[in-house]
């Protein structure tokens, strides 16, 4: 049954991918990329990867689409038409694809429980982690505890990317160009947005509350710092979309925002250092408390919080720098 649903969704996915390639309207491309991500997230759910589906839905369909649209509003919405296919590129893509298809014939079949990937460390994680770490969600325990180093590295990549975006887009442009979110603010358009405003006033606190639930429930169900951060940022982005950028910036001033970007990463690394000073190894949380699982819980809570703060503030400040940029 699940294989059948999987096939249908993959067929949809191919149609959308081809349509994304063929359309010359960049706006339609961005919208269809959002659909593509939603479909991909559905497929991840069918393939049991609920945590990944969570992230893909929030990041791919939410933040990514918003960023693409913000870029298009700053540049152009149509691609220049080329009336011929690029045969060289097509041949290269086909050749690479052919070689890869040839390679798949040695791959273990889909869903095979004896595939090499399931023989190495994965059985250990599955068998031991619920008792050793004391967290039912195995993805969280692998992410935060067994592979804490990786996650620290990835959090710093996000931090670095945020710095790069800020360096590229933060400097004020000469000439007072208006930003995409500062549309006409006359009486009539305020009236028009009334329903949206009232509804979002009720809705945004619920989004933020839900983000906190995802953050702290990540040990027991799908969720965790990455997902919660993105959802929190999505709430703030919705506020900025409805009420304008200036009001959103008044709520979270840029200097506090940028401070929190660094604070999240420091909290993560600081947890690692704390365990180092309490007679453990770097990021060995069991040193943090007298009882091993208690220490693990504390460590996972702290580093997930660090990840959540960094991701939320990075996404928010990337969005602010894109939408605060004047139109050319």
């Amino acid at each position: 049954m699940s294989q059948f649903i999987d096939m249908i969704l993959l067929a949809f996915l191919i149609v959308v991918a081809v349509a994304v390639t063929r359309t010359l309207n960049l706006f339609a491309t961005a919208v269809l990329t959002g659909v593509y991500s939603l479909l991909m997230a559905c497929i991840f759910t069918v393939l049991d990867a609920v945590d990944v589906a969570f992230t893909e839905a929030a990041v791919g369909a939410g933040i990514s689409t918003v960023l693409f649209l913000a870029t298009l509003s700053l540049t152009t919405q149509r691609e220049k038409a080329h009336h011929h296919y690029n045969w060289g590129a097509l041949a290269t893509a086909l050749l690479t694809g052919g070689a890869l298809v040839y390679g798949t014939f040695d791959m273990p079949h889909f869903g095979d429980p004896n595939a090499p990937i399931h023989q190495h460390v994965a059985p250990h994680y599955i068998d031991v982690s619920p008792t050793e770490i004391g967290v039912p969600n195995m993805v969280t325990s692998v992410l935060a505890s067994y592979r804490g180093y990786d996650t620290l590295g990835e959090t710093s990549v996000i931090f670095t990317a945020c710095m790069a975006v800020l360096l590229l887009l933060q400097r004020e442009r000469r000439g007072g160009a208006s930003s995409a979110l500062e549309g006409p603010t006359d009486e009539q358009s305020m009236q028009h947005a009334m329903i949206l405003r009232v509804q979002s006033k009720i809705f945004i606190p619920l989004i933020l509350l839900f983000a906190l639930y995802v953050q702290f429930h990540g040990d027991y169900g799908p969720g965790g710092g990455f997902q919660a951060g993105v959802i929190f940022a999505a709430g703030i982005i919705l506020y900025a979309l409805v009420n304008g950028l200036e009001k959103a910036r008044a709520i979270i001033p840029p200097n506090i925002l940028h401070g929190l970007v660094a604070f999240g990463l420091l909290l993560y690394a600081g947890t690692g250092l704390a365990s180092l000073f309490m007679d453990g190894n770097f990021l060995q949380y069991r040193a943090l408390a007298h009882e091993a699982t208690h220490g693990e819980h504390l460590g996972i809570l702290l580093i997930e919080l660090g990840v959540g703060i960094t991701v939320a503030t990075v996404m928010t400040s990337i969005f602010f720098s894109f939408s605060g940029r004047g139109r050319s």
Partner: protein, 86 residues
């Protein structure tokens, strides 16, 4: 029983997808994409029951939120010029 609901949802997703690909105006696309998003919410909810593990409904909740934010973002960032077939 869940299979019937699942088939209904999948068929609706297909129809909305076709409209999103056809256009013809930008607004038709946005409408179809919004509808596609709400159908993915139903898809995730029904899938949980179909597979016998319905506790992952948090996922569907995220889809509702993201779908709404996406639609509002699309509307805010499009430059509303004269309507053209796109």
């Amino acid at each position: 029983m869940f299979v019937a609901a699942m088939i209904g949802v999948l068929v609706t997703m297909l129809l909305a997808l076709i409209r999103a690909l056809l256009g013809p105006t930008v607004y038709d696309r946005i409408l179809a994409v919004n509808m596609f998003g709400t159908k993915t919410v139903l898809f995730i909810s029904v899938l949980g029951y179909l597979m016998g593990r319905p506790e992952f409904l948090d996922l569907a909740l995220v889809y509702v939120l993201i779908n709404f934010i996406g639609t509002i973002a699309i509307l805010k960032f499009v430059r509303f010029g004269p309507v053209e077939a796109s």
